[in-house]
Subunit: 198 residues, 2 copies
DNA sequence: TACGCTACTTACCATTCGGTAAGTACAGGG
DNA sequence: CCCTGTACTTACCGAATGGTAAGTAGCGTA
């Protein structure tokens, strides 16, 4: 059944996000559902192929989210800011995906071919165009750098949340969580508000 | 010999950074040196203990670097900016360490007790104090959020470099690399240059 | 010369891993 | 009623893993 496949992909996403590709065994994934690992192999053929399906589903969602955002306003700066706030919210909401993609980023140099970066390339292209409109200057590397810095600010935070929660204590952690989006907006608007020196 | 220990820790740092804790076998580490895995076990007792020594050595370097920076100037904003540029340079220079710490961040929720966050706590404390001085406002959560965003901007970039190099091609990648520090400075100075609304 | 210590090695082991082989149960169609 | 395909299961396998046991070689000391 297609439903069983989906359940496997769900469980695999959680497991891979939590323990990484090598820290996760297919038996482990299957045991979190009422199936054996052979059922998993029946549907996906191999661990690698299951992982590929997990990645595909995540990048499809990313592109869908990105396409949905960025059409709310005509002001370039405002649009830029809103797009990144949307990315922050989506990344927080799908933190398993975010963690898994961070692991993939760390691993994919080794995981050979890794033409798997296509989703990132499309992502960056779109965002860099938005950045150029918002910055209004000509150097494409600057736009790309800014985009990457903001993605880093977002993803690193999402990935750190469990550690931060434990380290900071509930009160400070809650304050940080609520401050984060506001502070991200400040960072973006202030950056967009100043002229660049060459 | 102490030298053999150091060589094991060096090799382990590279291996753990590249493949992660679970993707690395102690036999693999030993094979990259003219020793057997039993020599490794003789010196460190277990894989976990070796990993702990690797982490300890990294966090000691981090604290040393941080203590060395931040004393160059008396102006709070300038000091803040310089500290983060120093962190960027050090993270790039020790990219294995950066990658390994990113993996640890992803793993340590699971790796139980993980009182291993102490180095991060001290790091954040120091940086947040600098941020408060530079921002000149009272909300500690804002300072912490800003610090974390800049750390994210730095670490995410360092970790992504192999992927970016492959994805962007040599020319664009070089442009991005040289633009990154400049753009980070722009991000910081512009953020410090505007007043906060509550 | 004997002793103990450090720095290793070879041999071995139980467990876990991803994957294959060979089935069982059942549904739908001719 | 049989045939075929799907969705699984139990049984099994070779390779790799972390770790233990039991050495061996060399050095410093009494």
């Amino acid at each position: 059944m297609a439903d069983t496949r989906e359940r496997f992909i769900d469980a695999a996403t959680r497991a891979f996000a939590e323990r990484g590709f090598y820290g996760t065994s297919i038996a482990n994934i299957a045991e979190s559902l009422p199936f054996t690992k052979q059922a998993l192999l029946h549907h996906f053929g191999s661990k690698e192929k299951l992982y590929a399906e997990v990645l595909t589903r995540i990048s499809e969602r990313l592109m869908r989210d990105l396409a949905a955002a960025g059409t709310e306003t005509s002001d370039a700066s405002e649009r830029f800011e809103n797009v990144f706030v949307n990315i922050l919210r989506a990344s927080l909401e799908n933190s398993d995906d975010t963690r898994l993609l961070m692991r993939e980023l760390l691993d994919n140099k080794r995981r050979a071919e890794s033409a798997r970066t296509w989703y990132l390339a499309a992502f960056l292209d779109t965002l860099t165009d938005l950045a150029r409109d918002a910055l209004g200057d000509g150097a494409p590397a600057r736009s790309l750098a800014l985009v990457y810095q903001l993605l880093g600010a977002i993803n690193y935070f999402v990935v750190s949340r469990p550690t931060l929660a434990q380290m900071l204590g509930a009160k400070t952690f809650d304050e940080l969580s609520t401050a984060y989006e506001h502070e991200l907006r400040s960072l973006i608007t202030s950056r967009l508000g100043v002229a660049d020196e060459p």
